[in-house]
Each structure stands twice: as structure tokens, then as C-alpha cells.
């Protein structure tokens, strides 16, 4: 079975002005979103208290929120955890909390956290008997800051490590093109997460880092073909070579994305709330990474001026010979 016509020769490079322009636009929009709307950081990063409860009967978020506000909890963040019986309640440490309110919402010491968790449960039980607490956690903001910096360090380590490897295995321009596309993929993925305000927790951070790994995979496959075609082709017009590389690998690029996408969809639909954020982020990253492999990475490579002679195996014995036609 084949979905794609293997003789297709779509001129992807021909529309590079539009695709690169769109990519740049998306990147700027994403940065804008990240700065204006911001990421909806989860407890792991902000610090605070989170309580997860299980209801005997289906209930809705509004009811839970109302019950909490009635008992003096200000601005509780209530989310349903897949289904209408599991609820997650988050009380964030607010910077301007007064001491008195700190006991209710911004408690940052562990002992206070236990008390608040029990208070939350008591408040909910008063409205709906039979509510049980399935988990609760407490994080100080210091820990969150540490995780943020660790995450940034890991992302930088990934990007530099991959860049160095590509530089060694391919050539400088390939490394740069891959890295620029990588940054694009990460920013756009984060942009979408910021746009839909999906909670950004540790598993989502792990997923973003995994997106880097996934999308570089895609780029490397195309780059590999570019190198191969440059080396084998007698007359190597860069634009034509790049186009042919994208076209011949197109089937693989899309099939692999579909296969990986299928598994992530399975994870999203039945993996439960613990990995839902991970799966969604991965799905976004797969779409962004696939599109950028086709439309963004190669135009950048062309723009950087890749050519046949950069990719020929170095012949040291007789440089004269190599120069002859």
C-alpha cells in the first residue's frame, strides 16, 4: 500500500519565501504569546499546594469551586482530571498574600500544607459527603525555580550537543539549519501550549525536550538524503537536490509522524491525567516538527549556501585530481 505518489516532485523550495515567512511569523507570535499570555505553570514550577479528590457522583468544576469559595479559599484553581469525578484543586502561593490569608491559600510550610489539604477536604465534604482525597502535594517556589533552571540547562545541552554532532557528521551549515529549525519547533510548540493555556508541568517539560529529539530525527533523515544526493549527482543544482531529497523522504517523514502520532493519541485518550499533558505536547511537537522538516529546514540550508563541494569526502592524497571536472 502506498499513500504517496513516489514520482511526485512538489517544488517545496519554490515557495520558500512564503514558508519561511510563515515560520518566522509563527515564531514571533509564539514568543509574543509566551511573554504576554505566559505559560500556565503548574505546581512543579510555581510552588503551592495541590489536592486531588475523588467524588462519589459526577460533579462539575463550578460546583467544586463554589464549595471552596464558600469556605474561604480565594481563587482556587479547579480542574477536572478526565471524567467528572476526579478533580484537581490548586492553591498557589501568591506574592501579595497577607499573613492571615497565607494560612488559607499561600501556605508554604509543609506542616501548613497538610493542614490546608485537610481543610480543603473538610470544605468539600461539608457540601458533598463521600469525597475522598486521592493525592496531595506541596512544593516551595524555590524548588520550582531550580526545576526551571535545570530545564533550561537541559534544553541548551541538547541543542549544543546535537549541533556539535551534526557539525562533525555533516557540515557547519547543516548544524546551523537544524538548530534554527529546532528553536523554531520548540518556540512554536510552547506558543501553542501558551495559547491554549494547557498546564505546564514537569511531564510537559519532558515532552518539550523529547520534541527536540523527535524533530531532529526528522531533519537528520532529510539531511542524510541531501548529502547522499549531492555526493552521487553529477550535476548538483542545490535547489533541485534539496527538492528531490524532501520529495523522496516525504513518504517516510509523514508515515513515521503518523505512527508516532497514533501511539501518542492512544496515550492521550486512555493514559489518564498523569500523562495527558505529555501526549498533547508531543502531538503538537510532532505536527510542528514534521511541517518544519518539510518546509523550513531545507530552505534555511539553501539560504546558507550549501553546495556539492562542501559534502564531498575529503581527498587528501591528490587535491589536484579532486578539482578536475
Amino acid at each position: 500500500m502506498e499513500i504517496f505518489n513516489h514520482n511526485a516532485n512538489v517544488n517545496f523550495l519554490g515557495i520558500r519565501k512564503y514558508t519561511i515567512g510563515l515560520a518566522a511569523l509563527l515564531m514571533i507570535a509564539s514568543v509574543g504569546l509566551i511573554f504576554t499570555k505566559g505559560l500556565n505553570y503548574a505546581l512543579d514550577f510555581t510552588g503551592g499546594i495541590s489536592v486531588e479528590v475523588s467524588y462519589p457522583q459526577p460533579t462539575d468544576v463550578g460546583q467544586v469551586r463554589a464549595a471552596l469559595q464558600k469556605h474561604g479559599f480565594e481563587n482556587p484553581l479547579v480542574q477536572s482530571l478526565g471524567g467528572s469525578r476526579q478533580m484537581s484543586i490548586r492553591l498557589q502561593a501568591k506574592e501579595d498574600t497577607a499573613d492571615a490569608a497565607a494560612d488559607k491559600t499561600g501556605a508554604t510550610s509543609s506542616a501548613a500544607a497538610d493542614k490546608v489539604a485537610n481543610d480543603v477536604l473538610a470544605a468539600l465534604k461539608a457540601e458533598t459527603p463521600g469525597v475522598t482525597m486521592t493525592s496531595h502535594s506541596f512544593v516551595t517556589s524555590a524548588v520550582g525555580d531550580e526545576v526551571k533552571s535545570d530545564g533550561s540547562v537541559a534544553a541548551i545541552f541538547v541543542i549544543i550537543g546535537i549541533g556539535l554532532y551534526l557539525w562533525m557528521r555533516f557540515e557547519r551549515r547543516f548544524a546551523i539549519a537544524a538548530l534554527v529549525t529546532e528553536v523554531h519547533d520548540v518556540l512554536v510548540t510552547l506558543g501553542v501550549i501558551a495559547l491554549v493555556q494547557r498546564e505546564f508541568d514537569l511531564t510537559v517539560l519532558a515532552s518539550v525536550l523529547a520534541v527536540i529529539g523527535y524533530s531532529i530525527n526528522d531533519k537528520v533523515v532529510v539531511f542524510d538524503r541531501i548529502r547522499e544526493l549531492f555526493r552521487s549527482a553529477r550535476k548538483a543544482e542545490p535547489e533541485e537536490i534539496l527538492n528531490r531529497s524532501i520529495n523522496t523522504t516525504l513518504s517516510r517523514t509523514i508515515i513515521t509522524s503518523l505512527f508516532t502520532g497514533i501511539t501518542m493519541a492512544a496515550l492521550y485518550f486512555i493514559g489518564g491525567p498523569a500523562v495527558e499533558g505529555f501526549a498533547v505536547t508531543m502531538l503538537i511537537g510532532i505536527v510542528v516538527g514534521t511541517l518544519s522538516s518539510i518546509f523550513v529546514a531545507s530552505p534555511i540550508l539553501l539560504w546558507l549556501g550549501v553546495s556539492k563541494k562542501d559534502l564531498m569526502p575529503v581527498t587528501k592524497e591528490n587535491p589536484e585530481l579532486a578539482r578536475r571536472p
Partner: protein, 628 residues
């Protein structure tokens, strides 16, 4: 004959057998159990087993197994609820003297022959079995404070011993800047400098300013020694916490250092976080001080009433009775110099006692002190630190609140050093409690819980079910899609993918990777991405066929040409996975480790295993077409 060498067939066969055997233990999930261990030489025999069986039968609690296994008795139950109930029943049946430790446990059901070859199932993370997780930060500043104060005390007594007259010995305000010693003459200063330097090689001794008849000397702890002390403090805290947790009766607790000054504590299956925290979160240390008078004597009552406490003393209250008592400021030994404490009975009087053993350094100080103070009281001060956190101008300000009380104030009966007894305790129970407190209470530095989470076992079970379903559904969908799209080659890839899952689980089990929810996500992602190598190979073979190569040549060229791409793609992916594993001990690391192992196993299964099967199928036959 195909170009696939025979030794590679052997390798593939070997890897598959290895994978199946070492992944097998995971098919035998551990069951909730209660484990009973005998202490203090108490018997653990058929009579104890009968007692437990009777107690469970009396409460109509069904058990699925009850047997003595080596030095402990294990009772298995069908679920966690029954397990918790049974634990209480067994505890009551065996009495609450300290002869038996009753702990919740997960009993493995892995057959003995598998255990004999070290095949074991993956340990489950807290998110899959429920439990309590604490992240604690160690207060390094207080370690430095304590050290400097101790050196100041030591220098004072050294100068007295050497008959060098000094004006004052005080700590410099800046933490870590050392101790200032004011002396009367230059000669005294030189003598003091050489004595201190030779007695305490860990101190840097320097001359300070001198004005008139005040000659200053500064003794600062060497930076590497400070670092060593800080490191030692963490290590000791870890082992102290381990002692405390063991008292809780939790099977296989995780207590480990993370980063420079953090400690992670994970108690799987623990249902009551408050109880856990009471024991491990008590930031308590102990100090031995010379006592003044006795608890509730007129001088102490007077001090409590008027607030006029003698300058060399502090006013405390006795634990329990709340009588005021005066204690000298001078510190004899602190909790981190305490090596062991056990409760017992005094053979002469028959009253309960606590036998204390000190470390060498502590023993020397104790000997020095008791030599001169027989018949005088000595107080054990229990110091508990809790933290209040307030947010001021967006920054967290943490203020320690210290609770101090005297837990024992007893007369020194004779000169002693390393080993001594504390007598005058009310009951054997009190003695054993004090021993536990002394032993467990000796944290070298205060710790502060900075992050905590508790998860119920039912949520853990829920996660396992969902995770397992997600893996199976993901696998099934990919298998189906590959078989439809690549026909026979797709089926071959499917077999390889299935074995990838088996070998991945086998490797994870063998090296003991803890399985967590993010780890399961990593497995699912690995399955999705492992097929990529086969997609590359199949697309290549199709291309070669289109270019007019023969089927055999196409297979060969397909594998050869795809290999370079697969290698490059996987190495870059590996770099990303490696970075993930460097991130702490949280969910990201679990995911990273799984991904890392998955990439390595998938390279083997997707390329070598499929190549072997393909060679087997197509090997010697003349082929007109390929089913790809």
C-alpha cells in the same frame, strides 16, 4: 545463501531468549503483604505463625498466604485495604512491646527459578503504587554555626588548659569568618597561635589588629574543611533519616541525597503522610549540657517567675512535667556525636536505663567533663526546629522557630567517656522511647521539607491500569498500521517491535529502573519511534525496487543505505535523551532513562532482528517480487 552471517542469527536468538526470561518476572505482580520481623532475640516460629493466623481468623480477614520466609513471617492479602486492616490486627495480636516489627510490604510472587538468576520485576514508582514523597533541604548555615561555636568552646578550654590568659573568644559576625580571640600580650598571642594551630590543624590561624594591650588572633575553619563538614552533615542526615524511617516499618524506603543539599525520601505504600512526617520531619537534635540544680528547684522557679536567668545559664522546661530547669550554656556533646542508644535494665537496681555510646570525639569531651563534675547534674536538651515562611516583597523569608526542652536531667554517678547509662527513668516504655529519640534524633543539621506529595494506592492502581492499556493500545495500533502499509515487511517489523517492548522491559527490570507514569509515556513514545527505522528501511527497499534492482539486491541495499540514516537519527535522539536523564530524580529523569534504553534496544530490534527474520524468509528462494 543470504548475506546474513550465522553469528548474527545466534545473537538475535540469544537476545530474544534473554528478553523473554528477564521480562517474565513482570508478569507476576507483587501482592500486598504484611511482614513480621522479630527483634531482641524474640522467637519467630510456628507458634507465632499460629498466633497471627488465629488473630486474622478471629477478625475474619482472609489471607492468601502465610509462611515463615527466612528470618521473617509474611502474610499475603488480596488488596491494600485488607492489608492495612490486617496490619493493625497483627500488631495488636503480637503485643506492643518492641519484640516484633510489623511492616506493610509487597511480597514478590516471582517463581524461585527466576529469582535464582536475578530476574526480578521492575520496582514501581510512587505514582504507580501510592505513597509519600518528601524533598528536604538541609540547612547548611546552621552546620557552620554549630561548628564555629564548638571550635570557640574548644579554643577557650585549650587556652585555659595551657594557662594562656585571654580577654575574649567570640565568633566573628560573618558566617564562616571564624573566631576572634583577644589576648593581652604579643607573647600570649604567639603562644596561643601555635597551640591552636597544632591542636586543630583544620583551622587557619592569623594575626589580627592589635591596639594597646589588645592583641587579636583570628582562627577560621579552612574552606575545604567547611565543605567536608557540610558534606558529612548531609551524609549523617541521610543515615539518621534511614534510622527513623526504619522505625516506621516501610519496606524498601528510598532515602538519598540529591544535588548538594537536598535529600529525597520516598515511602511507597505509606497511607498516612502525617505519621511519616511526624517521624522524619521532626527536625530535632540533642545536646548534652551541664545542669544547674534540679528541675523545679527554687532557683529555677524564681528564674521562671522573674525572668532573671543567670548569665551562664538558660532556662528550659522539662518535657511532660513542664517544671522549670536551669541548664548551663556550655555544650558538652551534641547529637551528631552520638553513635548509638539502646534501652535496657540496670542489673543492680533493676530500673530501666538507656545505654548511650558516643563517637571518639564525643567520648573525649564527655570524659573531660565528667572527670571534674561527678555528682553534678547533666541535662539532655531536645531541640526541635520548625520553619515559618512569609513572603516579603515577593521574596520568601524563612524564619526558624526553635522549640527546646529538657528530656532528661540526671546526676553524673562517675567518670565516663564512650559508654554510659542514663538511669532514673520512669518505665521501660519511657526508656525505649528515649533511646529511639536519642538514636533517631541526632540529625547533624536541621532539615526543612521543601516539597511533598502523597498519593493513594487506589490512584496508583488506576495509573497502572491506564498506563498498561495505553501501552497495549499504542502497540496494537502501530502493529496494525505497519502490517497494512508494508505487508510482509510490516509484519516482520511488528515482530521486531514486539520484541523491542520485551527487551526494553527486560533491560529496565535487570538494571532496576523504577517504573513511573512518565516512564510508561517513554515506553509508548519509544514504540512509536522505533518503527521509524523500519519505515526508513522499507521505503528504501521500495525505492530500490522501483529503480529496477532485484529483490535480493533491494533488501541488501535497503538495509545498507538506511543504516547510516538510522545511526545519525538515533545518535541525535540519544543526545536529547541523555540530557533528560541529567534532570534530578523527578518524572523527567524516569522518562529520560526509559527513552535512552528504548533508543538503544530499538536500534537492535528494528535493524538486526528484522534483518535476521527477512533473511530467514527470503534467504535461499528465488524471488520475483517483494511484499513491501
Amino acid at each position: 545463501m543470504s548475506d546474513f552471517p550465522r553469528w548474527k542469527y545466534a545473537l538475535v536468538a540469544l537476545a530474544l531468549v534473554f528478553g523473554i526470561i528477564y521480562a517474565l518476572p513482570n508478569a507476576f505482580p507483587p501482592v500486598p503483604a504484611v511482614q513480621v520481623q522479630a527483634n531482641h532475640g524474640a522467637p519467630l516460629d510456628a507458634s507465632v505463625q499460629q498466633k497471627v493466623a488465629d488473630a486474622l481468623a478471629a477478625q475474619k480477614i482472609a489471607y492468601t498466604g502465610l509462611a515463615i520466609d527466612g528470618d521473617h513471617l509474611v502474610a499475603n492479602f488480596s488488596n491494600a485495604d485488607v492489608q492495612a486492616k490486617a496490619s493493625d490486627v497483627i500488631k495488636a495480636a503480637l503485643g506492643d512491646n518492641n519484640n516484633y516489627t510489623v511492616a506493610l510490604n509487597l511480597a514478590p510472587t516471582v517463581p524461585a527459578w527466576l529469582r535464582a538468576i536475578h530476574a526480578k520485576s521492575m520496582p514501581l514508582g510512587l505514582d504507580l503504587q501510592g505513597g509519600v514523597h518528601f524533598l528536604m533541604a538541609v540547612d547548611q548555615n546552621s552546620v557552620i554555626d554549630q561548628q564555629e561555636e564548638r571550635y570557640a568552646d574548644d579554643i577557650r578550654s585549650l587556652l585555659r588548659q595551657k594557662n594562656i590568659r585571654y580577654e575574649s573568644v567570640t565568633r566573628v559576625k560573618g558566617r564562616g569568618d571564624g573566631i576572634n580571640i583577644a589576648l593581652r600580650s604579643d607573647a600570649d598571642r604567639n603562644a596561643a597561635a601555635s597551640d591552636i594551630a597544632s591542636e586543630y590543624p583544620d583551622l587557619n590561624v592569623n594575626n589580627g589588629d592589635s591596639s594597646g594591650d589588645r592583641f587579636m588572633l583570628n582562627a577560621a575553619v579552612k574552606p575545604q574543611k567547611l565543605q567536608e563538614i557540610a558534606l558529612g552533615a548531609i551524609k549523617q542526615n541521610v543515615s539518621t533519616l534511614r534510622n527513623r524511617v526504619n522505625a516506621l516499618g516501610v519496606s524498601e524506603p528510598v532515602i538519598q541525597q540529591q544535588g548538594e543539599n537536598q535529600i529525597v525520601v520516598e515511602l511507597a505504600g505509606m497511607q498516612n503522610p502525617a505519621e511519616a512526617k511526624k517521624v522524619i520531619g521532626a527536625v530535632a537534635t540533642l545536646e548534652y549540657h551541664p545542669g544547674i540544680g534540679y528541675p523545679g528547684d527554687p532557683q529555677a522557679v524564681d528564674a521562671a517567675k522573674t525572668g532573671n536567668v543567670p548569665p551562664n545559664a538558660r532556662l528550659y522546661y522539662m518535657r511532660g512535667t513542664h517544671q522549670p530547669v536551669l541548664v548551663a550554656k556550655q555544650l558538652i556533646v551534641s547529637g551528631d556525636q552520638l553513635a548509638n542508644a539502646t534501652s535496657g535494665t540496670d542489673p543492680q537496681s533493676g530500673t530501666p536505663t538507656v545505654n548511650v555510646t558516643l563517637t571518639a570525639a564525643g567520648a573525649k569531651r564527655m570524659l573531660d567533663f565528667t572527670t571534674n563534675n561527678v555528682g553534678k547534674p547533666m541535662a539532655v536538651v531536645y531541640v526541635e526546629t520548625t520553619y515559618d515562611t512569609k513572603t516579603v516583597d515577593g521574596k520568601e523569608v524563612r524564619t526558624p522557630r526553635v522549640t527546646e526542652e529538657v528530656i532528661s536531667d540526671a546526676r553524673i554517678d562517675g567518670v565516663f567517656g564512650k559508654n554510659f547509662q542514663t538511669t532514673g527513668l520512669g518505665s521501660p516504655k519511657e526508656a525505649s522511647e528515649l533511646a529511639l529519640l536519642l538514636k533517631g534524633g541526632s540529625l547533624a543539621a536541621p532539615v526543612d521539607i521543601v516539597s511533598e506529595s502523597a498519593l493513594s494506592p487506589s490512584l496508583g492502581q488506576d495509573n497502572i491500569n491506564k498506563g498498561f492499556k495505553a501501552v497495549m493500545l499504542g502497540l496494537a495500533l502501530v502493529l496494525l498500521a505497519a502490517a497494512i502499509y508494508y505487508k510482509l515487511f510490516g509484519l516482520v517489523a511488528d515482530i521486531a517491535l514486539f520484541f523491542n517492548l520485551v527487551i526494553l522491559v527486560a533491560v529496565m527490570s535487570l538494571i532496576g529502573v523504577t517504573l513511573t507514569m512518565p516512564g510508561i509515556a517513554g515506553i509508548v513514545l519509544t514504540l512509536g519511534m522505533a518503527i521509524d527505522a523500519n519505515v526508513l528501511i522499507c521505503e528504501r527497499i521500495r525505492e530500490e525496487l522501483r529503480n529496477g534492482s532485484t529483490p535480493h539486491a533491494s533488501i541488501r541495499a535497503g538495509y545498507e543505505k538506511a543504516w547510516a540514516t538510522i545511526l545519525d537519527a538515533n545518535v541525535t535522539h540519544l543526545i536529547a535523551a541523555l540530557a533528560l536523564t541529567t534532570m534530578g530524580s523527578g518524572p523527567i529523569r524516569g522518562f529520560g532513562v526509559t527513552l535512552l534504553i528504548g533508543i538503544l534496544t530499538s536500534m537492535f530490534t528494528s535493524v538486526t532482528v528484522t534483518h535476521a527474520i527477512t533473511a530467514l524468509i527470503h534467504g535461499n528462494r528465488k524471488l520475483k517480487t517483494l511484499s513491501v
